[in-house]
Amino acid sequence: MPITSTPLTIVAFIASIIAAPLVGGLLVGLDRIITARMQGRVGPPVLQPFYDIGKLLAKERVTVSSSQDVYVAMYLVFIVIATGLFFCGGNFLLVILLVTLASLFLVTAAFNSRSPFAEVGASREALQVMAYEPMLLLTAAGFYLVYGTFDVGSIVSYASLMSTPAIYFLPLNFIGFVYVLTIKLRKSPFDLSTSEHAHQELVKGVTTEFSGPTLAFFEIAHWFETVLFLGWVGLFLTWGGLVGTVVAILLVLLVYFFEIWVDNNFARVKWQIVLKSAWLVALVLGGVNLGALYLKLLFM
């Protein structure tokens, strides 16, 4: 069932890129409240991320180099396209490549300022891309082995035809994916490049030299990323239909809660551990899962 661009897919594309920042902002707001409660605090209002963006957009436009702002804008644009493409049922492999391209724009933006803090943040960001990329590609390969297609729309249709979520075929792949999700969501112990919680040694990592509206674009891109990656988690869990979708959304929120819990309970690790553990997870969990699938196909 290859996907063709009908008016419906275009509507889905536009609807998802409008809804994604709203959902993403709310998720980040919930994250901040849950984090505060875990630390015995009350926490900010749930709309706090939107206030932050409003504030940042109203600030004076000052930049260390104007090309930096262009790179950040490209980062946002490619993340937006990737999000729209995923939720209108596009090609999963293309979405992964777009996300990688977006991350490389972010790395370039950070290198561009020549600030020592941003440069170290940029090299760490590049390293994180290296760390999570194998697992993402093995995930895409896993979906292909199971369903014979990279199209998100077709994967969901096949899953609903079989009334079985993809996690049934890719359980180890799912665990490995949730592992690298911590890197992609910039959560401790893997928040090496942005120092999300103001770990002082890097000031603010890649975002150190972003200010005002540029920082707002970065934050909005992160909302899109959050929604997109949780969408990938949902792809493992859904089996189509109303019940399948609702259950998948609830499980996705559970996974997000788990990430917040991990964020609050683990100290940051060194980059060596991030790289080695992410590749180990990808090779062992992803490799074993793919091997098992392959053998089952052989003996069928």
């Binding site: 605090r41 926490g43 900010p44 504030k55 600030k59 030299e209």
Partner: protein
């Protein structure tokens, strides 16, 4: 109220404080006071921050540092002097290397006195600063210079009074002074207060006369 006053991100700089006030600034971030309720985040990056909290007086060495942090911050921005050292030089005022309070280096918008300044007074001062932040944002919208458009208070001879930063004869608006913090001034700084002992009265007189 716009988003500007709902999301004040702070940066904290320790001038030559005794660390008493720094501990109180950090105390404001703890679960007991939890300033994140007001959207306040400690950024540690001048380019992200809206509010500069300075503790301790300005000395010859940290003068360019304070000025550089202030310059790197992006308009609209507000400076809060935390503790009596940051307001006037405080107990270190007469030291050979102390130039005085924060206002000797950069324009200060709100003074939060106290030794050490109480976390409630800091929160109060930041909330007061939000009004100024809004005024500066409005001035920017009108295309005016936000710093020139807003008035600031000054501490003169150990007595807190309101002045326009550019025009010392203008009495300014008293509303900007944190109500709760003014009660936390040392008693001999209270208007019309009687010194507890002749020794203190003499000390205060020397201090005021010495300027």
């Amino acid at each position: 109220m716009t988003a500007t006053s709902k999301s004040p991100w702070i940066i904290h700089y320790d001038g030559s404080s005794c660390n008493g006030c720094d501990i109180e600034v950090l105390a404001a971030l703890t679960p007991l006071y939890d300033v994140e309720r007001f959207g306040i985040v400690n950024t540690g990056n001048p380019k992200h921050a809206d509010v500069l909290l300075v503790t301790g007086g300005v000395n010859a060495q940290n003068l360019p540092v304070v000025q550089q942090i202030y310059e790197q911050m992006i308009e609209p921005k507000v400076v809060v002097a935390c503790g009596i050292c940051a307001c006037t030089g405080g107990i270190f005022r007469e030291c050979y290397n102390i130039l005085g309070g924060t206002d000797q280096a950069i324009p200060v918008d709100v003074y939060a006195p106290g030794c050490a300044v109480r976390p409630e007074a800091i929160i109060d001062a930041v909330v007061q600063g939000l009004g100024i932040l809004e005024a500066k944002r409005a001035a920017m919208r009108r295309g005016e210079d936000p710093e020139a458009a807003t008035k600031t208070m000054k501490v003169k001879d150990g007595v807190v009074e309101m002045t326009n930063w550019d025009d010392p004869d203008d009495p300014g608006t008293p509303a900007r002074f944190p109500e709760a913090s003014s009660a936390m001034l040392p008693t001999y700084f209270q208007p019309g207060a009687q010194a507890a002992s002749p020794e203190i009265a003499a000390a205060v007189a020397t201090m005021r006369g010495g300027e």
